[in-house]
Symmetry: C2
Subunit: 158 residues, 2 copies
């Protein structure tokens, strides 16, 4: 890959410590989900296996959890996209941090429990400050939900 | 009130046991948030105080949690609306259960930690099978997020 990022790292491994406390994806939040977003070829991928209590109706995954996974996957995807666009090397530059301005999830069918969820994302539109990310959430070989997230870059503290 | 529901009950108190395991609002899920949605005049209200670890960037509430609260608040609001429309009495009829077909959240500003969140909802559109719910999430006197949820009624098992 030409952007210098190690493809076995998640983007969340490269957030500054002060930006790494998110309940969804912060590596420093001991209570959180520790979601990790990888670049695999041209798509980003986040995998997560819900706990048995993350249910909606019995047998299906809680929609709020699905929204959470799509949320952090999308801010991670936005950070990946910005790093690539800028040719940034994580050995010298931390990953930029995006936050969510708008989140949309379509729940296409019940997401079955007992499966690893795989969210796959790509960039729909991008400016320097804003990235729109489209995602599909897969479980047991089917797309169970689709997401669209507007992610906005956090300006560094001055 | 003319619909027979006790206004000190939450709608989730009236879900059938098999529909009361939701991680967000199920009274029987010992690991969940136990969100409860009340009818207060013409609006529905759900209050929740995040745990200290429910953060996004330090100081602000995790967006996935906000989506979760809006999600369950909206399915609860849909159930309230259906009960009212049908004049159902919870002494004799359980509350109907709605699930989320689509969830949209606009994050207007960072939601401050250390505050009770209050989500206020109303019905935008309603058919027998589908209710569209609009919500505002308030914290520290400001609207921090807005939600729009399409909730669909679960057909009873036959």
């Amino acid at each position: 890959m030409d952007h210098g990022l190690l493809d076995h790292d998640a983007i969340q491994d490269h957030y500054l410590p002060e930006a790494a406390w998110c309940y969804g994806c912060g590596r420093l939040n001991e209570h959180g989900f520790h979601l990790r977003t990888f670049l695999e070829g041209e798509v980003t991928v986040t995998r997560f296996t819900p706990h048995p209590y993350h249910i909606a109706l019995p047998g299906s995954v809680y929609g709020g959890l699905i929204a959470s996974v799509i949320d952090c996957h999308s801010t991670g995807t936005a950070a990946w996209a910005a790093m690539r666009a800028e040719g940034s090397d994580p050995a010298t530059v931390s990953a930029p941090r995006f936050v969510t301005a708008a989140l949309h999830v379509d729940y296409l069918r019940p997401t079955p429990m007992g499966e690893e969820l795989e969210v796959r994302g790509r960039v729909k539109e991008m400016t320097e400050r804003k990235v729109i990310v489209l995602s599909e959430l897969w479980a047991a070989g089917e797309v169970c939900a689709r997401g669209e997230v507007v992610a906005v870059r956090v300006r560094p503290a001055s």
